[in-house]
């Protein structure tokens, strides 16, 4: 380790905070860049400063973990260069391009830990653009950050553990959860039990939520196929289908999500090699067991490089930091060497648990076959499933970037971050290919839109 080592961490969620903690403990002073205005990430997102609600209210069972992340980072502030409200929108030549309060700047680094986190994996259904439809994560942010619910009578649908957690949180907060609609079947969850016993406490938490929801009369329907959202100017209900046929439930808001999607654009721009992950059904940047990416000096931690959950994100953050310390010639204290071994074991266990979770809440692989032609896939550009199918058929398109070029899907503000998953499913289905074969949209700067006037243009010496 030399004085020239300059470590930057992108993200101040569980992975980023634990990475920072471990680096500081080993004598480094990292820079921590975070898009949010307070640390904690999405899962332990903190309310604005003037909101005062207890951690127990905000985070439930995870209050202790949230508190630990928050207080750890609080204690680190004097030892790191913490830059909140900072979007990293590009990277080039050992420097990150950041945007902060309308100004761009560059942040140099020699070593980089990406802890960029994840967003919802969303699959559209007819009517999903009606006001009142949110992502599951968005529904949770409303509760944690704003202290408000997305509606008074809410339906939560999709699949994944978040579905149950948010239903619990909403019901606890006093909202009426009119229904939970899970596309996974109960049998999926039973089959997955052995693998999920890898993390019995997590499993127990999940079972508690299910039990609590059941005992409080929150209706749960498993193995459903979402049909459509009702309402014109505002959500009025949702129709789904199960073994008993089509059913309708009235509601004024809907939260939808099918698990999480890693935010990988920065890893892509930085030149990381990607592989197709069968389990998570997506392309992910390669990382070795301790978090090294395929690019030298670059480390990946947390859900930004594959979904393993918040606890594993903490371990991965620590582990990547320890690898970085060792890689830069630092000497690990004996207790840190021992800790590294323990972290490796925990991460391996998390990966086994993940196999169970993906089995318990499988991606609805038949979604594309059931998506009607007039279903809007890309909201930014108003591209429907039919548009994609017609483009693929008329032009012989078999690959995602070509589909984007010819149809505009993924060409809007989100740059495919929201619609990319669904578009790939449609293309793979209508061309009879695997999801792997259709490839992935290339990452392009900016990672998120940046304003034109990042600083006042120099005066031209001329009057308008």
């Amino acid at each position: 380790m030399t004085a020239l080592t300059k470590v930057v961490i992108v993200g101040a969620g569980p992975a980023g905070v634990r990475a920072a903690q471990m680096l500081v403990r080993n004598g480094l002073r990292p820079t921590v860049l975070d898009e949010a205005s307070r640390w904690g990430g999405q899962i332990y997102r903190q309310p604005p400063l003037n909101f005062e609600r207890s951690k127990k209210t905000l985070y439930g069972f995870d209050a202790a973990r949230a508190e630990s992340i928050h207080s750890t980072m609080n204690g680190l502030l004097a030892h790191v260069d913490y830059q909140p409200d900072t979007l990293v929108w590009n990277a080039e030549g050992g420097q990150l391009d950041v945007l902060r309060q309308g100004q761009t700047a560059t942040v140099p680094y020699t070593h980089l830990i990406l802890a960029t986190g994840a967003t919802d994996r969303v699959l559209p259904l007819p009517g999903w653009t009606v006001p009142g439809v949110f992502s599951l994560g968005g529904s949770q942010v409303a509760l944690k950050f704003q202290g408000c619910a997305i509606g008074q009578r809410v339906v939560l649908m999709g699949t994944g553990p978040l579905l149950y957690l948010i239903a619990y949180q909403y019901a606890k907060a006093g909202a009426v959860v009119a229904a939970m609609l899970d596309t996974a079947k109960l049998t999926d969850q039973i089959v997955a039990l052995p693998a999920m016993l890898q993390q019995p406490t997590v499993l127990a938490k999940g079972l508690y939520y299910v039990g609590w929801l059941h005992s409080h009369g929150v209706p749960l329907h498993s193995g459903v196929q979402p049909v459509r959202v009702l309402g014109e100017s505002r959500v009025s209900g949702v129709v789904w289908r199960d073994g008993q046929g089509e059913q309708t439930v009235a509601c004024d808001a809907i939260g939808i999500g099918y698990g999480l999607r890693s935010e990988t654009q920065l890893a892509d721009i930085l030149g990381c090699r990607f592989y197709f992950d069968d389990l998570q059904r997506c392309w992910l940047p390669e990382r070795d067991d301790v978090g090294r990416a395929s690019v030298s000096g670059l480390y990946l931690a947390g859900d930004g490089a594959g979904i393993l959950g918040a606890d594993a994100a903490e371990w991965a953050g620590e582990r990547a930091a320890l690898a970085l310390v060792a890689d830069t010639g630092g000497r690990l204290a004996p207790k840190d060497s021992a800790r590294a071994l323990m972290l490796d074991a925990k991460l391996a266990q998390s990966r086994r648990f993940r196999i169970g979770l993906e089995r318990a809440f499988p991606f609805p692989v038949h979604w594309a076959a059931q998506a009607p032609d007039d279903l809007v896939i890309c909201r930014c550009e108003e591209i429907t499933a039919g548009d994609l199918r017609r483009t693929a058929q008329a032009t012989g398109t078999v690959e995602m970037n070509r589909l984007k070029a010819l149809s505009r899907v993924g060409m809007g503000r989100c740059q495919g971050r929201i619609c990319g998953v669904a578009a790939a499913e449609i293309l793979a289905h209508c061309t009879g290919q695997t999801i792997q074969a259709v490839g992935r949209l290339r990452g392009q700067a900016p990672v998120k839109p940046i304003p034109f006037t990042v600083s006042e243009p120099p005066a031209l010496g001329e009057s308008p």
Binding site: T104, R402, A405, L406, Q444, P449, P451, F452
Partner: protein, 378 residues
């Protein structure tokens, strides 16, 4: 097993030049195999700014450019899509009296090529184009120039050629090529061998390697323009905009997105390029000077590409000086999109009869190969 193909014409490169040559040759009845290492129109032909402009080209290119203009007018019947092509007009503004004089001199010299250039005073600019920000002392307007969507147009030429019976081989890299005294023999790994009477070198910024392979190296260098696009905005600009002296250009697509370009990025590797942060920031700054209303807009995507430049900024179009049956079409100095379809037709003419009605003498490869120690004017 190696697939063996025999055809009249083999084409290296599925950009707008190679694809339009394939289309023209099929219409003449030649059998064609087109070899594209990636996807047709996936490089500069498909990711360029989308300017369809004659104004500003050297006089030597105007006959070729005029031929292209006629082709662009028939786009839907030719390739089955209008490719968002709009004859919106191209406005080139002058920011100094000297630049204005240059625009006026250009108008005088280019009379007779049918461009119908109109000089506009500063007052007229303000009156017609109130959204123009930078102080302009005048401008030159070419009413029938315009812009199109290269993502749609260039692949459509390849599809049209395919529908006309051309054998289009995407993701097929040419690994070896020889002329065995009778015909050309091209190989792509062990998968494919193509034998042809004629060979067209339409490999864009990578065409120099093909020429060098046949003993006529040219001093071509690559450049990487910075491109960026805004979110869709209410329509305000119904033309394509340039500045005398270069530096910045902008258009608004029918969807409302403003496409802007200028400056230079950098090569990521041999195949890929990116905008650099300095260049992107310069382009954004210059755009806001030119179009102040974009001040509060957002850039949602940036990109670059790889374009071949020869020292005199003229392309190479015409027969090889070393190998009978080989024809070149490359080196368009960042301005190949508009003339590409005409170059394709010219190459087809050359295959068919050895001559073309379009003057191309200025584009001969011999201008680089006939001197032992050429001195190039930059």
């Amino acid at each position: 097993m190696t697939e063996q193909r025999a055809c009249d014409v083999a084409i290296i490169g599925g950009g707008i030049v190679g694809a339009s040559a394939a289309l023209a040759l099929r219409r003449m009845g030649f059998s064609v195999t087109l070899l594209e290492r990636d996807r047709c129109g996936s490089r500069s032909s498909g990711v360029n700014y989308g300017g369809v402009r004659r104004q500003g080209r050297p006089l030597s290119q105007l006959a070729l450019s005029q031929r292209a203009h006629e082709i662009w007018g028939r786009l839907p019947e030719l390739i089955g899509t209008d490719g968002e092509y709009l004859r919106s007009g191209h406005l080139k503004i002058a920011r100094s009296e000297a630049d204005l004089a240059a625009l006026e001199a250009y108008r005088e010299r280019s009379r007779g090529f049918g461009m119908g250039l109109q000089m506009l005073s500063a007052d007229m600019l303000r009156q017609h184009y109130p959204w123009l920000g930078a102080r302009a002392v005048g401008g030159s307007f070419c009413p029938e120039d315009g812009h199109a969507n290269p993502r749609l147009v260039s692949p459509a030429f390849a599809r049209a050629a395919l529908e006309m019976g051309a054998n289009i081989r995407e993701q097929t890299r040419v690994d070896s090529m020889v002329h065995d005294g009778r015909q050309f023999v091209l190989s792509s790994g062990t998968a494919l061998q193509v034998r042809s009477t004629f060979l067209l070198n339409c490999a864009g910024a990578w065409a120099g390697a093909v020429a060098a392979h046949f003993g006529e190296a040219v001093p071509m260098v690559s450049s990487h323009p910075v491109m960026a696009v805004t979110e869709p905005l209410p329509m305000f600009m119904n033309l394509s905009l340039g500045v005398e002296g270069g530096g910045i250009y902008a258009r608004q697509a029918p969807r409302g997105n403003c496409v802007i370009g200028g400056s230079q990025g950098y090569a990521l590797d041999e195949d890929r390029a990116r905008p650099s942060r300095e260049a992107l920031s310069l382009v954004l700054q210059r755009t806001v000077e030119l179009l102040p209303r974009l001040r509060h807009g957002h850039i949602i995507r940036s990109w670059s590409g790889t374009e071949g430049y020869l020292p005199d900024r003229e392309p190479v179009v015409g027969p090889s000086s070393t190998t009978p049956g080989l024809f070149h079409g490359f080196g368009f100095a960042g301005a190949g999109f508009q003339i590409g379809p005409a170059v394709g037709e010219v190459l087809a003419d050359l295959v068919q009869g050895g001559t073309t009605r379009t003057p191309i003498a200025a584009f001969s490869i011999t201008r680089f190969t006939q001197y032992a120690n050429p001195v190039f004017r930059r």
